[in-house]
Structure formats: structure tokens, C-alpha cells
Symmetry: C2
Subunit: 187 residues, 2 copies
Amino acid sequence: MANSQTELAVLAVLSIRPTTGYAIRELVHERLSAFWSESFGQIYPALARLREAGLIEVTPGERTGSALHSLTDAGREHLLDMLSEPPVAARPRNGVLLRLFFGDLLGPRACAALVQAAKERSERQLADLAAARAEVEAERAADPADATRTRYWLLTIAAGEHAARAAIAWADEALAELADLEAGENR
Amino acid sequence: MANSQTELAVLAVLSIRPTTGYAIRELVHERLSAFWSESFGQIYPALARLREAGLIEVTPGERTGSALHSLTDAGREHLLDMLSEPPVAARPRNGVLLRLFFGDLLGPRACAALVQAAKERSERQLADLAAARAEVEAERAADPADATRTRYWLLTIAAGEHAARAAIAWADEALAELADLEAGENR
DNA sequence: CTCAACTGTATCTGTCAGATATATTGAGGG
DNA sequence: CCCTCAATATATCTGACAGATACAGTTGAG
């Protein structure tokens, strides 16, 4: 089936609870943004196709014109099938590392600025993840029935934390090396 | 200008030496694959546009029909402009973490298999990077004129190594947690 | 009451990877 | 000398995707 990545994510979100297209995008943005992204331009066509295929049902929502989407039994089954398929590898595209690879075109000074900015992004990421961790742990304390689910969520947060800390450690190394390169250039 | 990411990468590769579209894709695949990817479907249209804009020149290559592309002065200038622009953030799409976030749908066993596979990919990545590091260091020893360039290359290799080691450390943590979850389930 | 912010649906454009088609060349085997 | 296979090389098509944009109903603060 076409568009499988977005459809997988949409079905997975709907497995938590029936909701609107807008709220699906909100949840992805709020809670999965460290490792996933979705846009309205993909979500609405995906919902239409899933409905067409009988994998979701639509009931009118609270607001005029809003539509609550919920999984059908076939949808739940299809979701499990899709989750069992091997993950699709994301194409790598890191603009900072591309610029660094061709670093002698920009020079050590400009490269250091890029690395510094990347380091600050990782630090912000780390702070965001700490906040998310606190939120999830509070949620777990408030509703022990969700305990299993929150343990999985914490695994994904830990992945982000490891990656962010590694990026910061690399940035420090790289900044030292770039300072050395600049000193050598001005010798 | 349209297609700016691919055009940036193509111009940057051509700053090393004039070459064919095929070889551009080869170089990206061989040396930048840890943090960049390009496809023929993007490279050939990009080359046509860059030629149209007067940023590259085309001369016939050794083989019949092959075309050697080289930077013009305008192209070199445009490349520096593009490198100076802030990097475009890549959309995150990590299928493993998506499956883990919804981990109670798959269960701890299947999740552990996914994490184990991810760990093995990172280990292979680490080995590939070690090989690349050795290759670059040999190249540096052979041609000291390239010493500065190779130092930038080693920075990008170090970034990959940090990321891969972090992924492995996370995977070990996650596998322990998933084993615990499974034990709790079967209690 | 009004306006700004939020909720909500929907489409369009440009970017992109991967698959595919096609042709040439060089090396090795028969 | 010919055949085949792999590597080199150009080119296009399709479907996936993000981000921008348009539009409209709703709510709450001032």
C-alpha cells in the first residue's frame, strides 16, 4: 500500500484513542518530535485512504465539521502487520556534517560557529527531554494502569538523551580541533 | 533556487575535482553515506539546472556520452554563499523508536529483537567508520598537501563514531529494560 | 463585543529516494 | 576472437513527504 510510513504512524496514534487529524499531528509534534514528524499534507490523505480501505471509521466530533477517527478491527490487525515489518531506514541528511566535510571552503572559524550552534541545539534537546521525562513519570504516578506504556515511552526518551549527549561530547572535541586548525592557519 | 540541498552537495563535490554525475553519486555513497545521500534522480536534473545557471561547465569525458562537470567562477562563488546559509534540519523518521513508543502493541520480545538489530547496525557502522578512518589517515600520510582537508574529514568520522557508540550504549540499556518488562509480564 | 489564538480540514508545490530503462566499455573465460 | 558479466554512465518516472497556504469555526481575555 502507498504512503506506508505515514499510515503506520496514523494507525499507531489512533490505537491510543480515537481522535481528529489535527490532534494526531499535535500528538506527533508534542511527543514523538524527537524521532518522528508528520504534516497535515500527509495525514489527511492518509486518513482518507485508510477510511477507504475500511481500516478506520469516522464519527462526527464535538465541533462542526470535525471528524473523530477510530480503528476498526481490520485496522488494528493491519497495524500489527505493519509494526511487524522491518523499519524503513531514514535517508541521512546532515547539513552541518556536509559543511564540515568541505570545511576548508568555509574555514575553521565558520565551522566552529556551526558546531557551536549544533551543540546548543543538542543542549536544548537534552533539556526538552528532561522535561518530557518528568512529565511521563508524573503521568505514570497519576495513572498506574499506564505503567507499562510509560516504560516504553521512557525508552524512546533515553535514546534521545544518549544521542544528544554524544552530540555534545563530539562538539567539544570538534571545537578543540577547529581551534587548533585556526591556530595553525594563523601561524 | 529550487532543489538547493542537492545542488549544494553537487557543487561541493565538484569543488574537489571535475567529474561525471555518476562519480558524484559514487563519492557521496562512498564517503558521505554516514551523513548524506543523493540519488541519480536528483543529481542529473540538478546538473542540468546548474549548467543552465552558468554555475558549472560541461566538457566531454573519456567515454562516449560521458560529461565532465566543472565549477565556473560563478559556481564557486555560489557554493560559498550556499555553504554560509544555515543548514536545513532533516526531518526525523526513526522507525525503531516509533515501534518502541507503541511497544505494548508488539510486546517486549519483538521490541528486543528490533533493538538488537539496531545495535548490530550501529556496530557495523562503527566498524565501517574505523575502516574509513584508517583509509583517510593513510591518504594523509601519502599526500601531506591534503592534511588540512583530511582533518575536516576526520571530524565527520568522529561524529559518526560518537553517535554509533551512543546508540550501542542505549541499546544495551534498552535490552535490559525490555528483559525486565518481559519477566514482569510472565510473572 | 471584539480580536487574537486555537482547533480543524484540505490542497499545492517543490524536494527527494528508489526503481527502472538504456547504452558503452573493459576484463576474463572459453 | 567472441561472449558474458560487471562497472560506468545518462536519464526519467513514481510515490512519499514537509512546509506553506487557505479557509472556517470556536473560545477566551480584555
